[in-house]
């Protein structure tokens, strides 16, 4: 199947981007270089084309419609105009997807989901939602998304969307008038920095992209930098660090489930809690500049102890960093591990998350 292109594809070409397939889309991986884009985001402000991600608009009473049951987070107690990060689980507590839930009105929601999983997510939700008094639309093909991330992003956005931006708390959102449209802007992101996610109709996204880039503090950044930025703050990537084969428990993401309410997969979660997990998602740092990579084996005392799920050179730390599942008995902070693949052998140590602690996230 041919990869889809976002409305910004020609803009990326003009900027000299290198593109590659990701989640069924041909996406810009880098413009001037991953390390420069990474550092620019940590110190200034970058704009990312995130149009590939999926968005569903749902009109439903959270409880009567079963929407609250499909998601691990409690929707009922969410204040209006706030977001929550949570999961959709199957009956075995495997993660179908990680999602951001937006409460637009009392009974109006937006779910933001991963690109590759969006079609299956939509079918899953539709299947489990009540049929009466429920409306669900997959607006992924008409709604564009740009992420503006970095310590200067708030000032940049005030110039475009007004002073109201200053009222947004972490994980809050609102509608703002931009380019004659009423668009959702949330104070969320995937970099560990002060940042925002902007949702605008496809036909206006080129104008918004160019408007943001008119500010000399803003540069484009690709998915390469997005990956190193998120890994430095230990945000999981669906399909790599979390998947149908893992539950939020072993991924260390239990706090994004409300165990006081009912949800799909909860019984399996409770069973796992009793039986023990067996493995845990750990963060580790290498002794050299050499980076661990996805699928490298993790060994402790020459015994196979786990597998690397994400790894990269860390531009902020100047060494290799990674995440992976390690057998529980070897998962303590400070454990010396070896990461191996063919003739490669890298010494590393299990460390506390996150790797990068100086992010401007909460302002």
């Amino acid at each position: 199947m041919e990869n889809k292109k976002t409305p910004l594809f020609e803009q990326h070409n003009k900027l000299g981007a290198k593109s590659a397939p990701f989640g069924g889309w041909l996406m810009p991986i880098q413009y001037e270089g991953i390390i420069n884009e990474h550092q620019w985001t940590r110190n200034n402000c970058s704009v990312f084309d995130i149009c590939h991600m999926g968005e569903f608009m749902i009109q439903a009473d959270a409880l009567l419609s079963n929407l609250d049951k499909v998601l691990t987070q409690n929707l009922v107690n969410m204040p209006l105009k706030t977001c929550k990060y949570g999961f959709m689980l199957n009956d075995n507590a495997g993660i179908i997807d990680d999602v951001i839930i937006y409460r637009i009105e009392q009974d109006k929601w937006m779910l933001v989901v991963n690109a590759a999983t969006a079609p299956a997510d939509f079918e899953h939700i539709k299947k489990h939602l009540a049929k009466d008094n429920v409306k669900i639309d997959n607006v992924s093909n008409s709604l564009a998304k740009l992420d503006l991330q970095g310590p200067l992003s708030r000032e940049v956005l005030v110039e475009i969307a007004g002073e109201g931006i200053l009222n947004l708390d972490y994980y809050g959102f609102d509608y703002f008038s931009v380019l004659g449209e009423n668009i959702i802007i949330s104070r969320t992101g995937y970099t560990g920095e002060m940042g925002f996610e902007l949702y605008i109709n496809n036909d206006k996204v080129i104008d918004l992209w160019n408007l943001l880039l008119e500010n000399k503090n803003v540069k484009p950044a690709g998915l390469g930098a997005r990956d190193t930025l998120r890994l430095e703050v230990c945000y999981p990537l669906y399909g790599q660090d979390i998947s149908l084969k893992t539950s939020p428990l072993e991924a260390g993401l239990a706090s994004f489930m409300d165990m006081k309410k009912d949800f799909m997969g909860k019984a399996a979660i409770e069973k796992k809690q009793q039986q023990g997990l067996g493995k845990k998602l750990c963060c580790f740092q290498t002794e050299s500049r050499r980076a661990p990579r996805h699928d490298y084996e993790i060994l402790v005392n020459n015994q196979k102890a786990g597998i690397v799920t994400s790894g990269s050179y860390s531009p902020s730390l100047g060494c290799g960093i990674g995440m992976g599942y390690i057998a529980e008995q070897y998962s303590d902070i400070g454990t010396e591990i070896s990461l191996e693949h063919e003739n490669i052998k890298i010494n590393a140590q299990v460390v506390k998350r996150p790797f990068y602690k100086k992010g401007s996230l909460r302002g």
């Binding site: 991986i29 390390i35 990579r293 990269s312």
Partner: protein, 128 residues
């Protein structure tokens, strides 16, 4: 892409500069551009033997680890420790400061298996 005259090239994008029985090796401008920011270089030990088109070094970029292959058989007579300390030299100066190692070659006839600048330019055109 910069493809200097007077060098030999491989299909795996290494370059070779011949000086008597010594062959200086690096990766081409095209290769460094494709890899992106280079973050780690592992070079072989001095005097280690090497065989044409067999793995001899490793270069890592932010995105991936890649093998470097020996363009010619022989043994390692010098390595560039500067690029181990500063891997970005391979990006900045692939044909000069970013050289990787020198092979003392044993089979000069193997040069026939390499491309000259003209042939490498055509190879890039056909394959990219």
């Amino acid at each position: 892409m910069n493809v200097p005259e007077g060098l030999f090239y491989t299909k795996e994008h290494e370059w070779v500069k011949i000086d008597g029985n010594l062959a200086k090796i690096g990766i081409s401008d095209h290769a460094q551009h494709e890899l992106g920011d280079i973050t780690f270089v592992e070079l072989p030990a001095l005097h280690a033997p090497c065989e044409q088109f067999k793995q001899i070094a490793t270069i890592e970029s932010v995105k991936a680890a890649s093998d470097v292959y020996a363009p010619l058989s022989g043994k390692i007579s010098a390595v560039n420790n500067e690029v181990v300390a500063n891997p970005e030299l391979v990006n900045q100066s692939p044909y000069e400061q970013g050289w990787l190692l020198v092979i003392e070659i044993t089979e000069e006839s193997q040069l026939a298996n390499l491309m000259d600048a003209e042939a490498y330019k055509n190879y890039l055109k056909e394959n990219m």
